[in-house]
Each structure stands twice: as C-alpha cells, then as structure tokens.
Symmetry: C2
DNA sequence: GGGGAAAGTTGACGGACCGTCACATTTCCC
DNA sequence: GGGAAATGTGACGGTCCGTCAACTTTCCCC
C-alpha cells in the first residue's frame, strides 16, 4: 500500500500535467516553495540562505537555479500565491457591496481575515529583528491594488466619494492595513473583526474630511 | 594650508573629546557612518556588503568590527541619528500646539518636512527592489513613538479626543506617514505640505468616527 | 521498440564575503 | 622613558553564491 508502483503513485497527484517531465517540474517547484516556507518560518527571511532552502529539499544546489533566480524570487512567489488567493475574495466583495463604503469595509474585512488565517505567509516575514517587509511590487499584488484603486477613483468620479488624492489614499489604506495587521497578530486572541472595524471607521470618517488634491 | 600638522588639523574639530584616542575613535565611527550612508545611497541596503562600506573608508576590515557588529547595526545607527534630529522638533511642536488637533497636524508636518529634507536617510533605504524597510524597533524611534502615543492617550483620557484603540491608532499613523512619505518622494516637486495636509485631514476626520476599542 | 535530441539534474568550482584572532602599532600615564 | 592598555591590521577558515560541463532521464519520431 505504502510502496506503490510509479504509475500508481503518480496517478494520485496527476491532474493537469501530462508528461512525466512536466509533473516532476511542478513537484520540484512545489518542493522548493514548501521548503522555503518552512525555513523562512524557522529562521526568518534575512537569516535564511539559498543553501538552507536547498538543503531542506532533496535537490542538488544547481537545480534550485533552474526554478528561481534567488531567495528574493522564492519570496515573491510565496507572496504572490497569497495574493492570488485574496484577489477573488476582494472581487466577490466588490460585487456584493451595495456602496463604496460597504466595499471599503469589505476590503478591510477580507484582508484582515486572510492575514489572521494565513499567518504562515504574512507574519513569518518579520520574524526576529528582520526588517524585510511585504513586497508591494509583485505582479499579482500590483494588479490587485490597481483594481481597488480604479474602483475608488471611479467612485470619486461618480461623486460617491469626495474627490481626493487617490495615490495618497491608496498608500494610506496600505499603510493602515499592514501596520494594523502586525499589531493584530501580536494580540491574543487575534481578532480580525476588531482590526477591520477600526480601519474602516478611521477611513470612512477620514475620507469625508479630505481636502481636494493639490497634486497636479 | 591644506597640509596642516597633526595638532593643527585636530584642533579644528576637537571639541568634546579630550585625548587623541577618543578623538580618532570618534572620527573612525563617523567615517564608517559617512561611508555607509554613501554606499547605501549608491547600492541600496540589500546590495551593499560590509566590505563595500569598509572599502569606502581607509580602515582595515577588522577595525569595522570594533565599532559595529554588522551592516544591520550601522543601519540602525544611521536611522537613530535621524530620529535624534526629529524628536526635539516634535517636542517643540507639542509645546507650541494649542490643541490635540494642532499637535497631530504639527507632528505630520514635522515628519514630512524632515523626510523631504533628509532624503539621504529615508529614501535611500528602499532603492531598487530593496525590501528593507525603516526599522521601528530602534531605541530612539521607540522612545519617540512612546512620547507621541502617551500624549494621545492622555488626550483621550481628558476627553479631548474620542477614546479609541491607541495601539491601532499609532500603528495607523505610522503606516500612513511612511507610505505617504514614499509616494511623496516619487513626485516632482516633492511637496511635504500637501502630504501633511492629506494625512492630517484623513486622521482628524477619521478619529472622530472611531468606535470604542473592543480590545480588552 | 530503438535511438538520438532535448530537457533537466548534479556537484564541484572560482570568486566573494563574513567575522575572528594573533600580532603589530599607537596612545596613555606614571 | 617605558610598560600597560587600547586599538588597528590583514590573513585565515568557514560559508555562501551562481555557473557550468558532464551526466541522466524523458520525449518523440522513425
């Protein structure tokens, strides 16, 4: 049972990949990502070396570089996976929401809920005195923010929201979200609803008081 | 003129340090910090090595370690210097302010003004795709935030500000300040007043709408 | 099914960095 | 002036990085 034949074992997890080549390629990539997640969690981003990740797999050192260029790139991939998971939820939120206010509230709610769940990806990055922060310039994350921002800009255009400096506004949402998320994770019990309520109230109250943009 | 004697040259910058020993000690430390600032600016934090910093001085590699334990520690020292420069301004602001609102406005103003001036310390850290962020756990910075926070808590206690979750509030101020500062530095011309106005309005408007803290 | 091309894996290698340490040098102070 | 203490020096062992030529596996077409 435990010692299957090759064909049997591969049939278990063989879904999309057609050839064996494609299958091991996927498996290797996944193994590296899993190992990286684990090592990042144990040592923190700054302290882990590419070699640490490699050693946590059963691959040769050279192989790693067939999949990722650097530690940085593995990190990005892990973050992107998270973003991929969050984006559909934000989209659903946008559809469900009946007003911009609801949409903003829902976005915060979704974000904090996710962070509280997927601590392995979010909290881990700042282990110890690690100063690595969540990257914002990763494709999936940029796309997600662009979506959110265009919604907000549209709401401003339609007069549903006071016109303000949309860049600063997005920056502020990001800042509030991430800093509060960090505090949230340090508390016991972790309470995403409280964090979301706080951020939402601060924002909805604040937006109404915003001045016109001075930025050209 | 340019080639002074030792006593002549040292007399120029000899103020506090008494012996020659103390003087070169200070000079070396300063040389390392200056070199580090320069190299960080050129290469970004992540890409610079301790060796790069050493090479930018005329010291031996071993000497560096008499002054700092690591690149990280040099970084902290540079940041702390900035914090040391900002804190008195914030204190002056607190004394000058006639209300909590004015104080918050003044704090943002001071912060963005400083960032716009001392780009060498703030902006430099995120050069390229560098993910190092400003450290918040450095002694001087912690002290500064504690000061600010206790003022806000006191204002809440005195009923001058609606009672809210002070931790989240501080986190939000930090988040908004740093994220907006980053956007600000990318614009031309850099306009600290606009950034400060935005942050202040967002906050003062937002604070009034905050819910009671659910945190025990 | 066989055989050659293409894709992928392997681990050793040159280059660089890190932090230390025994030794040389400078400063202090009696 | 001279010895003790403090500081500077740079070579060294250990580690990491990213590459590359040689090797193994998979693919695919005859």
């Amino acid at each position: 049972m435990t010692t299957e034949t090759d064909s049997g074992a591969s049939a278990v997890m063989a879904h999309l990949p057609k050839g064996k080549r494609e299958r091991t390629k996927l498996a290797n990539r996944e193994a590296i990502l899993a190992a990286a997640r684990d090592v990042f969690a144990r040592l923190g981003y700054g302290a882990t070396t590419v070699r640490d990740i490699i050693r946590a797999t059963d691959l040769a050192s050279g192989t790693f570089y067939n999949y990722f260029k650097s530690k940085e790139e593995v990190f990005e991939a892990i973050q992107d996976e998270s973003a991929v998971r969050v984006r559909p939820r934000l989209r659903a939120e946008r559809i469900r929401a009946k007003s911009v206010e609801e949409f903003i509230a829902g976005s915060f709610r979704t974000f904090f809920d996710y962070v509280a769940t997927d601590r392995g990806t979010f909290a881990v990055m700042r282990r110890n005195a690690d100063t690595v922060r969540v990257r914002m310039d990763t494709p999936e994350i940029i796309a997600g923010f662009d979506e959110l921002k265009s919604d907000i800009v549209r709401a401003m255009d339609e007069g549903l929201l006071p016109r303000a400096d949309a860049d600063f506004l997005m920056a502020s949402m990001v800042g509030v979200a991430f800093e509060c998320a960090e505090r949230m994770l340090k508390r016991e019990p972790v309470d995403p609803a409280a964090a979301a309520d706080f951020a939402t109230a601060l924002f909805l109250g604040g937006i109404r008081a915003l001045p016109k943009p001075t930025h050209s």
